[in-house]
Symmetry: C2
Amino acid sequence: MERVSKNGMPVVGMVGGGQLARMTAQAAVALGQTLRVLAVSKDDPAARVTPDLVVGDPDDGAALRELATGCSAVTFDHEGVPQEVLAPLAEAGIPLRPAPSALVHAQDKLVMRTRLAEMGLPVPAFAAVSSPADVTAFGAEHGWPVVLKATRGGYDGRGVWFLRAGGADTDALVADLLDAGTPLLVESAVPMTRELAASIARSPFGQAAAWPVVETLQVDGQCARVTAPAPGLSGDAAARVQELALRIAEELDVVGLMTVELFETAPGEVVVNELAMRPHNSGHWTIEGSVTSQFEQHLRAVLDYPLGATAPVAPVAVMANVLGAAEEPAMSMDERLHHCFARFPDAKVHLYAKDGRPARKIGHVTVLGSSVDAVRERAELAAGWLATATWADGWSAHADDPRKDS
Amino acid sequence: MERVSKNGMPVVGMVGGGQLARMTAQAAVALGQTLRVLAVSKDDPAARVTPDLVVGDPDDGAALRELATGCSAVTFDHEGVPQEVLAPLAEAGIPLRPAPSALVHAQDKLVMRTRLAEMGLPVPAFAAVSSPADVTAFGAEHGWPVVLKATRGGYDGRGVWFLRAGGADTDALVADLLDAGTPLLVESAVPMTRELAASIARSPFGQAAAWPVVETLQVDGQCARVTAPAPGLSGDAAARVQELALRIAEELDVVGLMTVELFETAPGEVVVNELAMRPHNSGHWTIEGSVTSQFEQHLRAVLDYPLGATAPVAPVAVMANVLGAAEEPAMSMDERLHHCFARFPDAKVHLYAKDGRPARKIGHVTVLGSSVDAVRERAELAAGWLATATWADGWSAHADDPRKDS
């Protein structure tokens, strides 16, 4: 069945009304489309910028069916729709992109770890956890510290616990989590030098395109800054990481955007941390920094259009997140934006129209240039100002092991 | 009175729901805003991409007041709102950007010609026309051919008549137009080598920023292709043209975008053709080709934000319009887009979600690169394909005096 809008162009439905859907809606404009969004509230970031809105919960099958009516593809701005909700939709012929059988690898860390290990890809040692004893045994075999993770539902550092040793406290934590119904896995804490991310897009036809591999800086468990391309990563190493991502996408039959989050353990050596199958924070730099943004590319991929060029348009792009301040600044965001623009006429600001609750991602800033240090400083100053109304040192000045607070 | 939306960001209202408003709505997303649009129909290009829509006529005072309620600035995607409609709104304190006293120079060619001549700026010889004898006398004094123009309401080549000589036919045309109530002026046909355009933005504070001067190619009276920067224009000449545009903006107290359309009569020598006070077809290349797009800049200007950097991001940018074909192609736009993307993965396509009536602007394509000829060829092939579903020679191959068909 051909499904098109009144103006003859296809309609994509996106589950979730956050900033990823907001920026996808923005990209849809250029393609002659109007993104249809399923959002919890008409005040959600994406709901504010599209007239084609379905208000409902992402795990409500009826709302999902309403979203899908007339859509050429249904896709996601988060991984929160359970498999048991997706399965009947897929059976009914709704074109879910990615399919539930691929998406599960971004929803369930144990399924993902198991599959990637079977493929022979570099992942940390891991084990399922059904009792405190499983954690103790894993630590005894692989060494402490270990990382305990909720296999489903965690993001931005939530659902991750860094355990330095076994004992009564560890046993109690694990028991409490299991009692609360949290499915768990345990894995080795990988000693790493930094985090990288590799984003690709893949179409149903099987065409795939990779962007340059980027370096991500995590602060308090969530992405704070992205540098593209990853400084100091050799061409060979970058190509190997891109091939790893492309291989995962092909093997899992991913459609749309996929980002592989990686730990670099030695120069050019990586292990896979997480998978995301949607536009990703580590790819926001592509809006200005690449010929094709991840948001346009995601739409092209889920609609089986030929993919766009992924070349960078500047030697360096840095994206810094605007994270809600611990205390609401006295100055409004509108006023802060005035000052930001006055100081940095070249900073590209993206605001998500969200309340500035502490540590919440409320926007980002991208700066392009040729010197990593200079571009980082500008992006971090601008993003820090927008968050706090102070011209503070950027994260570069106090970057730490991102797991220290976990 | 402070006017802000529920999320604390200002609201801009735009009169008109065409592609300029559509692309302004797209730019508003990044600034945390939702553009409010007054459109004639909910199927208009901009109405399809914003949830904040007022349906009504642009010359309906009640609709304009509804649009303005809660807006920090009201601006325009066309010059079609009569002064008699704008005057009471301005008197009521509605923040019109630009003010009617500036906008009139983009609405009435006689007012504009008179004012620019008073400023000592280069304009063609011109005269008001209240009878056929006025045209005959002008031709006798300044020589034939002459150009007859409707002082108000013309655009994209409409309202312009190229008159090779006086006589009965010319008298009859002028008399018929005057009888129909068309206000007219006559001006010398300027021998020119090409057309240029200079776009600037200016804020209420008085800050102004100019983009590189571009070359425009008109076909059948409307913009077909834009090359940025204008090839072969010397740095001195470009600076003089930018200064001319900035001086006009300051003198007329323009707020928002303004484009000066110019005829180049000899290398670096120009006369002013038209003024536009809104985002303009000749500035679409700025979406990908400049640090700040004309659409974001227009929002920044009308809201009195500091303006963004206007530097180009590539040596050459070419924008080619997708103009509705004489006959509807057998292949749908969706299919045409597939083929376009397959051939040109670096072409940036913008579709306006409009029906493809002949010669109607239904989209545009921008390509960046370093060789004028190569970039033009790619942009023209892509735009021509999207228009006609044929890989035809671009306009470069048969560019003519744009006035020949007038």
